[in-house]
């Protein structure tokens, strides 16, 4: 029983990173009604750029690496918007889907090219700290990852519901044309959405690097899949949904791993998704109006 609890808590902590990736997908989807398939790769790209800090100043504290990843993530987010969305007519969903796939491949290849395909070690915030509560162990670094994720989510929710930019973003996501008629510059809001999700992605990438201990371009495909699953289970366009679904997927994944082994783990995660699609196709928090 203790084993199970331990496994679930580890999964929940790691699930926070899935939640962050899921938020990125869901936010872009909510605002533009488009899927940005390059998001997970861009997040990893941001995390890799964070490593550049160590190149410039060897022995820099891990906090600086995280900050570098945050900034780089934002810049990459803006570049993705510019190259994959800005000049392509919004009425054509296939074209932007394909251009983001192109971006996914491009980012992956740039990473492979620069690092020669070798996994890169990622600094942890601090050395192994274990919290013991009874027979129960919590990995200190995972706990920090979790807390940082919660902090990011809180920041995002504050941005969306307490600022003018957030109001504009929500207005565009509800009715782009009406928002434009009210004097909101839709293109600017779209670009800002990409920058904000990029910032989140950079942090998420850095935390995944810290939690796993290393970064590899091989991570981008599974992260894309997990992020999309989280988005759908949570309900497209719903931020609280993505958070809860991220934790749910993280927890379930570890339980399946405990009972069925690592090779079959993801298979059961797919089954979980299918159960949701059949019994609750709108996800946990489906938007009320039936949007496509």
């Amino acid at each position: 029983m203790l084993d199970l609890l331990q496994v679930v808590s580890d999964g929940l902590l790691f699930g926070a990173t899935y939640a962050l990736i899921g938020i990125g997908f869901t936010l872009v989807f909510g605002v533009m009604h488009k899927l940005n398939l390059s998001y997970a790769a861009a997040s990893l790209g941001g995390a890799y750029c964070g490593l550049l800090v160590l190149k410039v100043a060897a022995g820099a504290p891990a906090g600086l690496v995280f900050l570098g990843a945050l900034v780089a993530g934002g810049v990459i987010g803006w570049l993705v918007y510019l190259t994959c969305f800005h000049f392509i007519p919004l009425s054509n969903p296939l074209a932007t889907l394909m251009s983001t796939v192109g971006m996914l491949l491009l980012i992956d290849e740039i990473i492979v090219h620069v690092t020669a395909g070798m996994p890169q070690n990622y600094p942890a915030m601090f050395e192994d700290v274990m919290l013991h509560v009874g027979g129960f162990t919590l990995r200190g670094d995972l706990l920090l990852v979790f807390l940082l994720s919660v902090l990011c989510m809180a920041g995002l929710l504050a941005l969306l519901y307490r600022t003018k930019l957030g109001l504009a973003t929500r207005a565009v996501s509800q009715q782009a044309v009406a928002a434009q008629l009210c004097g909101i510059r839709v293109a600017r809001v779209n670009a800002l959405t990409f920058i904000v999700t990029g910032l989140l992605g950079g942090v998420a990438g850095a935390m995944i690097g810290a939690a796993v201990g290393a970064l590899s371009p091989l991570l981008s495909a599974p992260l894309t899949v997990k992020g999309l699953i989280v988005t759908v289970i949570g309900g497209l366009g719903s931020i609280p949904g993505a958070i809860i679904a991220g934790l749910l997927v993280g927890g379930f994944e570890n339980v399946f791993q405990l009972y069925r082994g690592v090779t079959e783990r993801d298979f059961y995660v797919m089954l979980l998704l299918f159960a949701f699609l059949i019994f609750r196709p709108g996800g946990l928090f489906a938007p009320k109006t039936g949007r496509d």
Binding site: F29, L35, T83, C84, F87, I88, P89, N92, P93, L94, A95, T96, L97, M98, S99, V101, G102, M103, L104, L105, L106, I107, D108, E109, I110, V112, H113, A221, T224, V225, L228, I229, T231, V232, L236, T263, E264, D266, F267, M270, L271, L273, F274, L277, I278, P281, D292
Partner: protein
């Protein structure tokens, strides 16, 4: 010369893969499950020739039938969700199938060695062509016979009433439904035809590579299947063929001299193509 025959084989198989996504795309559905149907066809046909000793033509037919059946079965629940939800649902299905093959062992001792699929190590010894003494040229002609039949069939579909109905659903579901088109029937039938074409392509693929494994049917392959018709445009089947030639011959073989830089250019060129020609390289601009 064998090099060019080999290249033509690759183009043929990828054309089948692209065509399977093409017909589904006509109904406005984006399916990332095509690689899964491709894989199911590959494993089915491979197991039939290697383990059951079938002739290749019925084995390919069986691959196509199993692919179509799976696609039909997936179509009903998956098409309850629309648009981007469907992308994710089919993506998850595709990954599920890949993970199934990753864990799939079925080995039979044959002539001193064990043959058959073996989990992560894949399925080796699908040696129908070499065992029966087919030359590369003959294999190429064999493959292209199937590709041409599939292209002709889809071209004819496209021009028929059925094609008009598919496009009507793709242009505007609501309008199509209000003139009496049965949306579920149209979408599931398109999915089934797509599954059959993908299954056929997979069977051929298994036999010309002689070794298949789960990673041959991953998300990247599914993305390529979608990329061909989208990059080529949805006007007719030749757009898909042209896109396959553009990607496989020009981008992958033609730029081989560039070495490492080729992979970088690949993604960048897709982005550029979509920016310049959002309706596909050979697509007509829709009104």
């Amino acid at each position: 010369m064998d090099f060019y025959y080999g290249l033509a084989q690759i183009v043929g198989v990828h054309t089948l893969l692209g065509l399977s996504a093409y017909i589904v795309l006509l109904t406005g559905q984006v399916s990332l499950a095509q690689a899964a149907f491709f894989g199911i066809g590959a494993y089915t046909a491979g197991m039939l020739t290697v383990l059951a000793g079938w002739h290749i033509v019925p084995a390919l037919g069986a691959g196509a039938v199993v692919g179509a059946t799976t696609a039909c079965a997936v179509g009903f629940p998956a098409l309850r969700v629309k648009g981007l939800m469907l992308v994710v649902a089919t993506l998850a299905f595709g990954e599920g199938v890949r993970l199934f093959f990753f864990n799939f062992d079925y080995q039979v001792a044959k002539g001193g060695i064990k043959v058959g699929p073996l989990g992560g190590e894949g399925f080796r010894q699908i040696r129908y062509f070499p065992e029966h003494g087919w030359t590369t040229g003959e294999v190429m002609v064999f493959i292209w016979a199937f590709v041409l039949v599939a292209m002709a069939a889809l071209w004819w579909f496209d021009r028929s009433r059925y094609g008009a109905v598919l496009r009507a659903v793709g242009e505007d579901e609501l309008a199509a439904q209000s003139v009496g088109v049965n949306l579920t029937a149209v979408k599931v039938s398109a999915m089934t035809v797509g599954g059959a074409v993908a299954g056929l392509g997979g069977g051929i693929y298994a036999h010309y590579t002689t070794h298949i494994e789960h990673s041959n049917f991953n998300v990247l392959v599914a993305t390529f299947a979608l990329a061909y018709p989208i990059v080529g445009g949805l006007s007719n089947v030749f757009g898909t063929l042209a896109a396959v030639i553009f990607v496989q011959v020009f981008l992958i073989e033609g730029l081989r001299d560039l070495g490492d830089w080729r992979n970088l250019l690949f993604g960048a060129l897709i982005i550029l193509a979509m920016n310049l020609r959002p309706h596909g390289l050979f697509g007509r601009r829709r009104a």
